[in-house]
């Protein structure tokens, strides 16, 4: 934990190489404005926690980062490439951006091992043998070494989400996107997923996490963004963010969730 503290203090948001640069991101569904001009830089090694009320656009923001949602306007530069440009091969960039979903989205017709090895093998990143070896390594890391031959339906929610994290990790991404990873879990399973994420953060993984877990934001986050009405209303390092919020909406929000 001491390492972590040190990391936080040296990892101020103005240091480190910019991994994702978001420029004036806007998204509209019909006349409904979901994202109203979001700009931010996400640096290597940062753990950016995004909070906000439901319908604030925080999920849409996260899903725009790997283009699961196509922004109406604005730019997203990932490792220097504008991935919103029409001639960009998004598949190549998505291979470097892992994503973990609220509903896990494991492939129910495949074993856990196959779930993890499918993408690395299909995209030509690893051979089946290499992928198998890597998968077993990752299963160890998420604490489920004996589940390789299980099917997703045999697992608990917490186990499913840990497998989903392992699946995303198998592509050796440069950044991991988490879309409310613990929101669909029974309360007693939240901890096991958060501790995997914490361990991941400690290992230096760049993470963007949309969550309602304020404890996680405070403990693990290196920066917290508050999104409301499609805009970043406030951002700060977690300590200041929670201790002295300035934005009125954030104050109201925090008073409700804390």
């Amino acid at each position: 934990m001491n390492d972590k503290k040190e990391k936080l203090s040296t990892d101020a948001s103005d240091q480190g190489e910019v991994l994702i640069q978001v420029k004036d991101l806007r998204k509209q569904f019909g006349s409904n404005v979901v994202l109203d001009g979001i700009s931010t830089d996400i640096r290597r090694g940062e753990v950016v926690v995004v909070i906000g009320p439901s319908g604030s656009g925080k999920s849409t923001f996260l899903r725009s980062l790997n283009l699961l949602e196509h922004p109406t306007s604005g730019q997203i530069l990932f490792e220097g490439t504008d991935i919103t440009a029409p001639d960009t091969d998004i598949n190549i960039h998505r291979q470097k951006m892992g994503m973990v979903f609220q509903q896990f989205n494991l492939f129910p017709h495949m074993t856990v091992l196959k779930n993890i090895t499918l993408a690395p093998v299909k995209t030509g990143k690893l051979s089946q043998e290499e992928a198998d070896r890597k998968a077993l390594e990752l299963l160890n890391r998420v604490g489920l070494p004996d589940k390789a031959d299980s099917y997703p339906d045999m697992l608990s929610g917490g186990q499913k989400q840990r497998i989903a994290i392992a699946r995303a990790m198998a592509m050796e991404p440069d950044v991991m996107l988490f879309d409310e990873p613990t929101s669909a879990l029974d309360p007693e399973m939240v901890g096991e997923v958060l501790s995997i994420m914490q361990e991941l953060a400690k290992s230096g993984m760049t993470m963007v996490v949309v969550t309602h877990e304020m404890g996680f934001a405070r403990e693990v986050g290196s920066r917290v963004l508050f999104i409301d009405q499609g805009r970043i209303q406030e951002e700060n390092r977690p300590k200041e963010f929670f201790a002295s919020p300035k934005n009125q909406r954030l104050k109201e929000f925090l008073s409700k969730v804390l």
Binding site: N66, L68, H70, N91, I92, H93, R94, Q95, K96, M97, G98, M99, F101, Q103, N105, L106, F107, P108, H109, L118, A119, K122, T123, Y151, D153, M154, R167, A168, M171
Partner: protein, 233 residues
Amino acid sequence: MQSFMDSFYQNFIEDHRYMYLVKGLGNTIAITFFALMIGIVLGFLVAIIRSSHDKMDHPGAAIKILNAICKVYLTVIRGTPTVVQIMIAAYVIFTGPNVPKLLIAVITFGINSGAYVAEIVRSGIMSINEGQMEAGRSLGMNYVQTMSSIIMPQAFKNVLPALANEFIVLLKETSICGYIGMMDLAKGGDIIRSVTWEPILPLLGVACIYLIMVCGLSALVGKLERRLRTSER
């Protein structure tokens, strides 16, 4: 009992009349099998085009045109009776004297079945949670890879009972081939009836053969279904 044996002999054995049924059955099986192949290929293609089009935010011109063609195909084929379709095929389209009737029947039933298979498969694709496609794409797999290794296997399993039903319908529907002068199983029985002036045995015999084939097909599909299901638990 004696009269039954006489009747049986007269209808099936005398003059090798059972050969009408054997040859007819051969045609029925051949038409069903090849039409099935055409129907599956055509149906899956149309289903994939239709569902891909529907899922896209801004479909391109090519897929729009393909989708329109598919829609016309589905409307026309599902909106007209199969018996009319096969007569149009035989007497309007393939009018040449050298076109084998078997070929006409295979093409007609294949195209006809394809339309129904397409809608069945499309419903299967649509039944798969959007999150499955998103998970596949978020891992960097392209659309085709995600479709073929994640969406289609699950969709296929979901629609297997409906597909089996379509194949049973197809098998029985080939019995309208008599309309274009082909001898399938039903027509074979009908020929025996017209020769022996004895409707009961030939027609019940034909019905039994269809029933046995359908039961066999159902059992086969049931087995496949169970095998696909156990692979998940």
